[in-house]
Amino acid sequence: MIYDADTWIGHWPYRRLPRTTAAELLQQMDSQGIDKALVGSLQGIFYKDSHEANRELAEAVRRHRDRLIPCAIINPTYFGWADDLKQCREEFAMPVLRLIPQYHPYKLTDDLATEIVAAAHELKMRVAVYGRVMDLRGRSHLDHSRQVPADEIMAMFKKFRGASFMLLNSGPVKPPRGAKAPKIFQDTAMMHGGCGVGVEKGLKTCTAERLMFGSTMLLRYPKPALIAIETVEATKAQKEKILYKNLKRLIPEMA
């Protein structure tokens, strides 16, 4: 059983992607043996009104809800975000809010970020923060996005004592300590290197209880993320937690 915490459909504005649709994502999942996936809309990052992409996404996965669980993307600096968030949860049944501070004009330490996270929690949504969506070393001249410092992400997490967060496409981040510390679940997409070395570091830093498999397809090739799990020195029980059990527990809609 494999659940993927980090997939996308749609278009990337600076590069042609060979596959963009929900059907193509399902084909890729079938070819890699991946059962279910959390999915977001890539163009939702770039639309001025990202909620239009949430509508598109809800429609695109409507007939595949047994395998594709849609995630909302909302820019909290855009008018009406609270209504949009509510619709994503209540009408589109999206269990996860993806925040993209790399591309949207706010810092996670801003009050607006705190407000949208609190509103998502109120709606019983999980909040997923992207360390980064794209490697900036080859950025387009039109891409003015920023590197989001790990300190900024952690400062936001720490405002919500005892809450669970997803941190996606980021290197391993040392979890805060304490009984009321936020619980941070990280995906393995950025944990790479020699055979299993990146995931091994993730295991040491985050523990097997807090790691989730993530591929970032259809933006990237999925096989490398699977090889990382296959080759990491870990027990069968640890690998099962990473491959599906943790995500299944975190997102009841994945069950």
Partner: protein, 255 residues
Amino acid sequence: MRIDCHAHCSVSMGPWPNHHQVVADARRLGVDKVCCSHPLATKPTDPKQIRRANNDIMAAMRTYPDVILGLCFIDPGHIRFAQDEITRCVVDSGMVGLKFYHQYRMDDPVFSPVIERCAELGVPMLMHAGHPTDEETLAAQPRISGADHFIAPAKLCPEAIFIIGHIGGGGDWEWQIKAMSHAPKNVYMDTSGSVIDAGMIEKAVRDLGAERLLFATDMSTERGVGKILDADITPRQREMIWGGNMQRILKMRKI
């Protein structure tokens, strides 16, 4: 036959992974041979350090003669020393080619005697390369070679064999493919690097031809192997990239 044409290892010096680990990873992922070098990132370089680094690779070759193929690192700025090191490492000790870092750009005339020597010997030259578009990388590597910087020297010396390092090394890989499509056929590109953008290998095959691509990892082992496995190309094209092309290059050796 799978030949990783761009990797690094270390026996006693660091910072590269230990040669035992490199060979274990290769065996685990079905890679038969690994071309290893020990480049120095400093500018200027110290000939004593270069000699030490190449000795380190020779030690790795002695330990794993069936797996590790040595690439001799040189800084072309040390004109006489570079020639002596080519004699010592390639002619006398069986290293299969050369490795350059970004001390000079590939179209700098300082390379001319080295290129002529490699053409005489029939051995390939692998260059750390890329087209970074972010300020940070450009500041750190002001003399990094893009694929466009290979065109003039490759035309000037058609007998020489050039390998553009890591299509996925970070930077605009689409630029690299386009620029290489203007280079003569004695220029190859390796597929290594941590960037695993979907469609990268397919586009390179379409625009350059599979016969000009060489499988490599540059220590991103899972990603290097995974992107070739995932690429939507024919089995024949995949075999050429895995090792067929590099085998052909290795047979061009004249000594």
